[in-house]
Symmetry: C2
Subunit: 332 residues, 2 copies
DNA sequence: CTGAAAGCGCTTACAG
DNA sequence: CTGAAAGCGCTTACAG
């Protein structure tokens, strides 16, 4: 695998590498005669020249690489985000490095270091619990970085997110308006701020209503088992108008499969609202109401914010909050 | 964002950059005194030195980057592959670049060029129809490349795949043994060899049996609409023992949602076997029988093959075919 | 045990 | 209109 270089072209064309570089980069600043221009282009084509971006990066200090760190790229939610970021990044001329943190701060840190060593121009990250250290280190270096989906308390960097608390409150309000007299919030037992916000929105709503509210907070591992057990203990068909609000797609999938297994009908026996859009909902007997995050817009904004930081770093970037939307189907 | 370099360390330590390079790379060949070693390491730590892999790459001609080209990273199947490849690649010290081709040969080619310019050490690709040109170009350059999931006819490069024809034949046999007297094969109208193999296996089985067989071949776009229409035309409840064999996860999801919408019960009204594992199946009222591909093993093997090519390129690599497995649940 | 030096493939002021 | 030269941050024979 020997690659041809600018030097080869220069030699064949009988010009300097500088000249080759200029025409290959289409710099209009320095006028090169059309004749040499044409000759160089032809030779480049003929010998199948492929520019070495790494050499270019070394000189220009721009790799045109950006790193994306998600919790798990195989999670529907993140793979959709990744796809939208990929498309948008391409438009800006960036190529995407992807890594999964598995909610593990050590792994998260490793990934930031790895990407940093690979000289990515910036990173889009979904920070995990206890990743403040890794993030702050990047900030100290003035490394362009934007958060997506999640955010960190006490850390001021640009990011995109949704109105987690508000949409949860809205969902809860909606359910009470539909005369549900018991609502079970299914969430994670976690310190992730955006998830706490979802819970907080729910609690805010509940505080003003006179209905039964339960919270089922489960660990981030063993989701399925925990949900099965939790619903076994907390849900009974006898109750009249119960609703379950699943605060993530993974929770919803696990919970809905529980309902399936136990022949609990939606919405006859229980109402359901889920979070995030996933193909899986299509296979449930009832079309599920869910909270839709505007992933494409979020992805676009995140790349835009990052590109802005790369071109002109400013500390203490602001967050952009998008409005999630409750999509009404037949599960309430 | 000013980064510290080996030169900074050398200056502070009062040694040459060569010495710094040696201790940082832990080369045991050239003995450096423990004293200077210690000093250098401490300084590196103190000034928060981050090695510039791009500079290293330029010199060593190894970027420790590998590119992964899938049809669409937001597709469950590919995001699972990506995740497994990511984990395995990390073990080998590679970082992953990811791109989606959208079944578009132009985009596929663009991606190979982009990755090539970024100096990836090799690529793992799921080739699309008419990507022979792009692939052959890489082969001519002796670029390490391995295919995954899919393969190309008349192109000899290493790759991992499954026994598509055999497993399809097996699925069909299984259905006839279960006394299904009509089988509808739902597949793509495509030239992708691995999908043609699936169809061929089905046909091979059918040829030996005395049952009704239908093929529903749909375009790669508008999957849902095409399947809805196709099943409307080809499936009727009156038939006694009909089975539908969906040859991909996307087809299965679309088809199962059709069954849901039309209150067609599985397995009472129709038997179903799907391809690939996806979370979505969990939400269907009946547990679906599906063909499981050993993704983790395949991902591992693909990285192993690629790494072997990177370290010692050999033309005409061989394919590794894994055995897919029919997972029996309750849908037949 | 350590250093001077060449060079990887580019870009870019500067000079002519 | 074009070229010589420096330099990006490393690695690595080679010499001492």
């Amino acid at each position: 695998m020997k690659r041809t270089s600018i030097k080869d072209i220069a030699k064949i064309a009988g010009v300097s590498v500088a000249t080759v570089s200029y025409v290959l980069n289409k710099k209009e600043g320095s006028r090169i005669s059309d004749a040499t221009k044409k000759k160089i282009l032809e030779i480049a084509e003929a010998i199948n020249y492929i520019p070495n971006k790494i050499a270019r990066s070394l000189k220009t200090n721009k790799s045109k690489l950006i790193g994306l760190i998600v919790a798990d790229i195989s999670n529907d939610f993140y793979s959709n985000i990744a796809r939208n970021i990929e498309d948008e990044a391409m438009k800006f001329g960036y190529t995407l490095l992807i890594g999964s943190s598995d909610e593990n701060p050590e792994k998260f840190k490793k990934l930031t270091e790895l990407f940093s060593e690979q000289q990515v121009d910036g990173m889009i990250v979904a920070p995990v619990v206890d990743s403040d250290g890794a993030i702050n280190k990047l900030i100290k270096e003035e490394y362009p970085i934007v958060t997506i989906d999640r955010y960190l308390k006490n850390v001021n960097i640009p990011g995109v997110m949704i109105n987690n608390s508000e949409i949860s409150e809205y969902v809860c309000d909606f359910l009470t308006e539909k005369k549900c007299n018991e609502i079970i919030y299914v969430g994670y037992d976690t310190k992730l701020p955006h998830l706490q916000d979802r819970q907080e929105g729910f609690e805010k709503c509940i505080a003003t209503k006179n209905i039964t509210a339960k919270k089922l907070l489960i660990g981030i591992h063993n989701i399925t088992e925990d949900i099965y057990q939790g619903l076994d203990e907390n849900f009974s068909k006898s109750k009249n108008k119960t609703a379950i609000y699943f605060s993530s797609n993974k929770l919803a999938v696990a919970g809905l499969s529980y309902l399936n297994k136990n022949n609990i009908r939606v919405p006859q026996d229980v109402s359901v609202i889920a979070f995030d859009e996933t193909e899986a909902y299509k296979l449930f007997p009832t079309e599920i109401d869910y909270v839709r995050q505007p992933l494409m817009e979020m992805a676009k904004e995140s790349v835009k914010l990052l590109d802005a930081q790369i071109n002109n770093y400013v500390p203490n970037g602001k967050k952009v909050a998008f409005s999630a939307q409750l999509i009404n189907k037949n599960s309430v």
